[in-house]
């Protein structure tokens, strides 16, 4: 141990030398350097290590450099500047991702449905979001005569604001959490719970029966699925013993034989909780197959019926930002956050891993949209209360067993047994009374 520590220390000091070469001051976690040891064993690789660390921390150091411009200013100006830099960085990245996602979603859906998709604006249709944005900006903003003007106006803002706030607590990379707070996970859900009210405001403020119906459906479904969403987070919080996203990511570091990472998605309870969390997240962001609140074949567009132009775009943006937030939290909780999938790939900058995993989950969102039909309202509710909620409690139980069996192989098998037994038992119970007879046709044939 002492030998290892001295080696680490040596590495750190040499890393510090190297970074002085680049006139770069690596912040906080300098011990990070020794992680690159497996990749570069030669002493001449000092320069590469420094470059890699600089790449890893490039955004952090960019922010610090920007803050040096305010070095003479009073404390509160520095604080506000620091906040504004972080916020504009985050908004820039996610607005870019939103634009990319909107065109990629249409491309992937087109591919699934065997057609081309947008391919006229720019190379491969990649400038489509710009055209869409201009179109939405110059459209007329229509407010219904009998609408509640103030509530109708505030609803899009109230829908979008919580999703942006929720994005702030997710660790995007090493030292890259924008808003560090003791109860970060709780912050995420506290902020997220405000969306329900905003959707209600949209539905009620529009003074339209379709809007109101859509809002009621949305709230009913969001309230129902918030329970499994929260309960599936609990095992992770319980095992880690902290509500801070950074601590949860740190708890998933390390590898088994350098190949299998210690992500919670690789434990039986974690895998089950991840699936349940993902499905609940799908519902919370009102995406297919759970898009009954805006089912266009039934109630026009639900709570968004009476919105046009940029207000409609804001709802669209909120839906996508909600997807980013839920996927980001799923990556943080179950997929190891910004950690690399195998030990040998740790030299790749941490944020690249985070956004890679995020894009993978977003692809699954689109994939599901392209392949699954919409569920019926009562089925959605039944599924939440009869299957999702009991299963998430089972996950909690299995995680407790895993923890008290010392987290070894036996614990792994025990929790697997519990999850599988509960799943089979639950599916047996829920199947009662449903007999599938051969379909009979009264009018056909």
């Amino acid at each position: 141990m002492s030998a290892r520590r001295s080696k680490t220390k040596h590495k750190v000091s040499s890393g510090a030398q190297a970074s002085r070469l680049l006139s770069f001051d690596p912040p906080a976690e300098t011990a990070v350097l020794h992680r690159f040891r497996p990749c570069f064993k030669k002493p001449g690789s000092l320069f590469f290590i420094a470059v890699l660390v600089a790449l890893d921390q490039i955004f952090v150091s960019a922010k610090q450099w920007l803050l040096t411009l305010f070095s003479g200013a009073p404390d509160w100006i520095t604080q506000i500047a620091s906040g504004l830099i972080s916020i504009s960085g985050m908004l820039g990245v996610f607005l870019g991702l939103f634009a990319l996602m909107s065109v990629m979603e249409r491309k992937i859906l087109a591919r699934i449905q065997n057609r081309y998709g947008p391919n006229r604006v720019g190379p491969f249709g990649l400038l489509q979001p710009v055209a869409d944005g201009i179109k939405l900006l110059i459209k007329e903003d229509i407010v219904p005569l009998r609408a509640d003007k103030v509530v109708h106006f505030l609803a899009p803002i109230m829908v979008a604001a919580p999703t942006i706030l929720a994005l702030a607590v997710i660790p995007y990379g090493r030292n890259m959490t924008l808003f560090t707070i003791d109860g970060g996970i709780l912050f995420f859900f506290a902020v997220g719970s405000a969306t329900e009210l905003a959707v209600f405001m949209a539905g009620w403020g529009s003074n339209n029966k379709f809007s109101m119906l859509g809002a009621m459906r949305a709230i009913a479904q969001m309230v129902s699925y918030e329970l499994p969403l929260l309960v599936t987070v609990l095992p992770v919080v319980m095992v880690v013993g902290s509500l801070t996203p950074d601590a949860i990511v740190a708890a998933q570091s390390g590898y088994l034989l350098g190949l299998v990472p210690h992500w919670f998605a690789f434990t039986p309870w974690g895998a089950a909780a991840f699936l349940l969390f993902f499905v609940s997240g799908l519902v919370e962001s009102n995406r297919t197959p759970f898009d009954v609140p805006e089912g266009e074949s039934e109630i026009v567009a639900g709570h968004m019926t009476e919105y046009s132009g940029f207000k409609y775009a804001t709802f669209f943006l909120a839906e996508y930002f909600g997807m980013f937030a839920v996927s980001g939290l799923a990556v943080t909780l179950f997929l190891g956050g910004w950690h690399a999938p195998i030990a040998a790939l740790q030299f790749v900058p941490s944020y690249a891993w985070f956004f890679g995993k995020l894009c993978l989950l977003l692809f699954v969102f689109v994939w599901l949209r392209g392949t699954l039909p919409r569920m019926r309202v009562d089925h959605v509710m039944n599924f939440a209360w009869k299957f999702m909620l009991p299963m998430s409690f089972v996950c909690l139980f299995a995680a407790a067993i895993w923890h008290y069996q010392a987290r070894g192989l036996a614990a792994w098998l025990w929790s697997l047994g519990i999850v599988v037994a509960a799943y089979l038992g639950l599916s047996q119970v829920l199947q009662t009374g449903k007999r599938f007879a051969p379909r009979t046709y009264r009018f056909a044939e």
Binding site: V151, G183, L186, S193, L197, W204, I219, G241, S242
Partner: protein, 159 residues
């Protein structure tokens, strides 16, 4: 705690509460009540009680406000006419205010001479699981009973 921040938050909170008490449309009143809830949460944050502030937002904005809104929606059928000033409501709210003030004034608060220690979520969890485990279990039992009761009510309706 900065006095300017407190002043701004207090004004917003009180304005929200006042609007909730005086606005003629019930839904508007309910939405203004949310502003008051958020203001109270902000004051908790200002006092350094982050956990309490977050739970305030989570429970009151996420659950209680939605419950109030749903109650209004499901119980009112036609356009309600503006209700006049209710002296009974004023009396009740003053009684509640007086009762709370009496309790606060009579409670011996610990001294804050040497500065208050930062309250972490971990510390709250430890206290809840060690010192207050029985009250916690009782509340859990009560909530479970309420949940089952709600389910039973719904089942009766279906039959």
């Amino acid at each position: 705690m900065s006095p300017a921040a407190f002043l701004i938050i207090a004004i917003i909170t009180l304005a929200g509460a006042l609007a909730a008490a005086t606005l003629p449309k019930l839904i508007h009143a309910a939405l203004c009540l949310v502003v008051a809830f958020l203001g109270i949460a902000a004051i908790y944050f200002l006092l350094g009680a982050e956990f309490v502030g977050l739970v305030q937002v989570f429970v009151y904005v996420g659950a209680v406000a939605v419950l109030i809104v749903f109650t209004i929606l499901l119980t009112r059928r036609e356009e309600e006419e503006a209700v006049g000033f209710s002296w009974g409501g004023v009396g009740i709210s003053f009684a509640v205010f007086a009762g709370l003030m009496w309790a606060i004034v009579r409670t011996a608060l610990p001294s804050t001479e040497g500065g208050v220690e930062v309250l972490t979520v971990k510390r709250i969890g430890e206290v809840l699981m060690a010192d207050y485990v029985w009250p916690l279990q009782c509340v859990g039992l009560l909530l479970t009973a309420a949940l089952i009761g709600a389910l039973v009510l719904v089942m009766e309706e279906k039959r």
